[in-house]
């Protein structure tokens, strides 16, 4: 379970303070598929970054799978991120001079997993997204949709409890986007909790729950009640 209560996040420059999240409360239960929507600058991505332990927050509390993340040091946050969270980005973020196998291998290396287990997980993950025969290919040799699938395989290989997806279909045409969405639904069906930030209302409608963010807060009262 992911639980944020009255969480605040402020970006500061020399002259300006921007409250990216304010009194942000949200609970995502295990196995849910939640779509986070909202206009640009509403705080969707900031929420995802804080949820993914990529950024710290100022006030409030955040519990990730039973761990209170406030006060954790960099090593502890990195370990938790590696074990509990998988990321999917809009621009795939594959490393161009590593093969798909090595790209998927990357998070497993940080977990110091034994070689045999790593190899099995990589093979399984790539096979699951339909790229079992392309393990030694490089990202530049694949289509956009295939690259996103490889990125999903990388996120899945570590068996995370949560998949955080930031506009996962934003760089894909509609056919490829549909394929990726179907894959995410299939992953969710097998028990992985997914939180997806999207601008696309059609995609949001396919999620089990929609959370609308506005001015750094969850704006839909119904969702707040439901989450609580």
């Amino acid at each position: 379970m992911l639980k944020m209560q009255k969480l605040s996040k402020i970006y500061r420059t020399h002259q300006i303070e921007t409250h990216a999240l304010r009194e942000f409360s949200l609970t995502v239960n295990e196995g849910e598929f939640v779509a986070v929507t909202g206009p640009s600058g509403s705080g969707k991505t900031t929420f995802l970054n804080v949820a993914g332990l990529l950024e710290e927050f100022e006030g409030g509390s955040y519990q990730l799978d039973g761990h209170d993340v406030r006060g954790l040091n960099d090593n502890q946050r990195s370990k938790l991120r590696n074990e509990k969270i998988g990321f999917i980005f809009q621009s795939f973020n594959l490393i161009p001079d590593l093969s798909l196998f090595d790209n998927v291998d990357l998070p497993l290396r940080y977990r110091r997993m034994p070689t045999s287990e790593r190899q099995k997980r990589i093979t399984d993950a790539l096979t699951r997204v339909g790229l079992g025969s392309r393990m030694q290919h490089y990202p530049s040799e694949l289509s956009g949709g295939q690259q996103q699938r490889a990125a999903i395989a990388r996120a899945l290989a570590g068996s995370p409890r949560f998949l955080l997806a930031d506009e996962p279909t934003g760089n894909l045409d509609s056919q490829m986007a549909r394929g990726v969405m179907e894959l995410l639904e299939e992953i969710n069906a097998s028990g992985t909790t997914i939180i997806m930030v999207t601008h696309d209302p059609d995609l949001a409608r396919r999620a089990q729950r929609n959370v609308h963010v506005l001015d750094g807060q969850v704006s839909d009262g119904l969702q707040l009640v439901a989450a609580a």
Binding site: S78, N93, D166
Partner: protein
């Protein structure tokens, strides 16, 4: 894990090849320039007998009086840098040290028993039997002579490896004869290659010249009334005939003693000073004792074995290396910032800052090794140029030895890692969230 990290470092090395090449070149040029100068400095300032340097003492006895030391105008109270025959004999006969050896350079016309062998002029060191154990001189065959040989003026000779090869080829010549100025000498020892640089036991002649071709008993050479081939300074003329020369205050001999322990230095200096007081009491001299007893390091420092231009060059070269490293640090920073997206991604996938910092230093180590290769080649070329263009002393020491190669690698690694600290630390602080969205 280390193999994987090395693989990642290699991938990073291959990325942005122009930047990488510039980094390697900057380190290589810095290392090459600095090591060329430092190697010459090291060779000149190195102590060739460091393991017992603190027990070997060079003796200086003031037989000239205050202000008479023309060879050392900057330190008028400094006694002459060599001793007279008379003073050398006093120390030799007193036998107050564990070992003692007076010595000077001379030379012979050498012939072998083989009539086809053309006579050659060879340098020789006239010395005492203690010379060999005192300076740990290595023998390939045979040994040095004995104290008895010193007493009996024996016609025995120890050949250097090079002279033995020239006269006898590869054969062990111990027991054979050579003719020195037409007098038959028996070969009793052949040295292994022995070229202490600087030639610490005689720093009053060419400091970096080769060791002598052969070694013969001092007593024989003096008995044969032979002249020294090295420096000879006389304050009041050299006396009548050879006997007058020996009785004069001319300085032409080096005098070394080995003491059991470094702490015995004051005791032996007292002995020298008491001798000088006796000389004063008996009217031979008119000045207070002014003697010195310096160990090898102290004596090399006193002589100023490293020319000032070599010292300045070494300091400047370190400054140049520093400039190269600052450039390298800038290039490393540029390269790591150009990889911000990848670093952010790795953070998102679970790499801690410490993990990325360690990987960054490993990346820098590969650059350092490549820089060391370039630096090693440039050092070799630099030393080659110094051998061709430098003066005689530099030509003698400008060589690339295994220790210098190790130093090249160590200097490249240490300096590159130092240069990499800031860029690597900066890279590990990259905020992943910003980079991932930007990407």
């Amino acid at each position: 894990m280390i193999i994987y990290q090395l693989k990642m470092a290699w991938l990073n090395f291959k990325r942005a090849p122009a930047l990488t090449a510039l980094m390697v070149l900057a380190i290589g040029v810095g290392i090459g320039a600095s090591m060329t100068s430092l190697q010459v400095f090291r060779a000149m300032s190195g102590n060739p007998i460091a393991w017992k340097s603190d027990r070997l003492f060079y003796v200086q006895i003031d037989s000239w009086g205050p202000g008479e030391n023309a060879s050392n105008s900057q330190a008028e109270r400094e006694p002459p840098d060599q001793v007279s025959y008379r003073d050398a004999q006093m120390v030799m006969q007193a036998k107050q040290a564990k070992r003692q050896a007076a010595m000077f350079q001379t030379g012979f016309m050498l012939k072998s028993a083989d009539p086809k062998f053309k006579p050659i002029t060879s340098t020789a060191r006239a010395t005492y039997s203690d010379f060999f154990p005192m300076f740990d001189v290595p023998f390939a065959a045979g040994s040095g002579w004995t104290a008895d040989d010193d007493e009996r003026r024996s016609r025995v000779v120890v050949l250097s490896a090079a002279l033995n090869e020239k006269v006898f080829g590869e054969v062990n010549s111990v027991g054979k004869s050579v003719f020195l100025d037409q007098v038959e000498f028996k070969v009793i020892g052949v040295l292994k290659r022995w070229q202490p640089r600087p030639k610490f036991y005689d720093l009053t002649n060419a400091n970096f010249s080769d060791s002598e071709d052969m070694f013969v008993p001092y007593s024989y050479v003096v008995g044969a009334q032979m002249q020294p081939w090295g420096n000879n300074n006389c304050r009041e003329g050299s006396g009548e005939g050879y006997a007058g020369y020996l009785a004069s205050t001319c300085i032409w001999q080096q005098l070394w003693v080995e003491l059991d322990r470094p702490l015995e230095q004051p005791r032996f200096l007292d002995f020298l000073n008491n001798f000088s007081l006796d000389q004063r009491k008996s009217g031979v001299t008119s000045w207070a004792p002014n003697n010195r007893l310096r160990n090898v390091s102290q004596w090399m420092e006193e002589v100023g074995i490293v020319p000032s231009d070599v010292q300045i060059s070494a300091i400047l070269s370190v400054g140049f290396l520093l400039v190269c490293l600052i450039n390298t640090a800038g290039l490393m920073l540029a390269k790591s910032l150009s990889r911000s997206g990848e670093i952010g991604l790795k953070r998102a996938l679970g790499a801690s800052r410490a993990t990325l910092f360690r990987q960054g230093l490993l990346d820098a180590s590969l650059v350092a090794i490549a820089g060391a290769l370039v630096g090693g080649v440039l050092t070799w070329l630099g030393l080659l140029a110094m051998r061709k263009l430098g003066d005689e002393e530099i030509q003698a020491v400008a060589r690339l030895d295994p220790m210098a190669l190790l130093l090249v690698l160590a200097l490249a690694l240490i300096s590159t890692l130092l240069a990499a600290l800031y860029p690597t630390w900066r890279a590990s602080l990259i905020a992943p969230a910003t980079q991932l969205k930007t990407n």
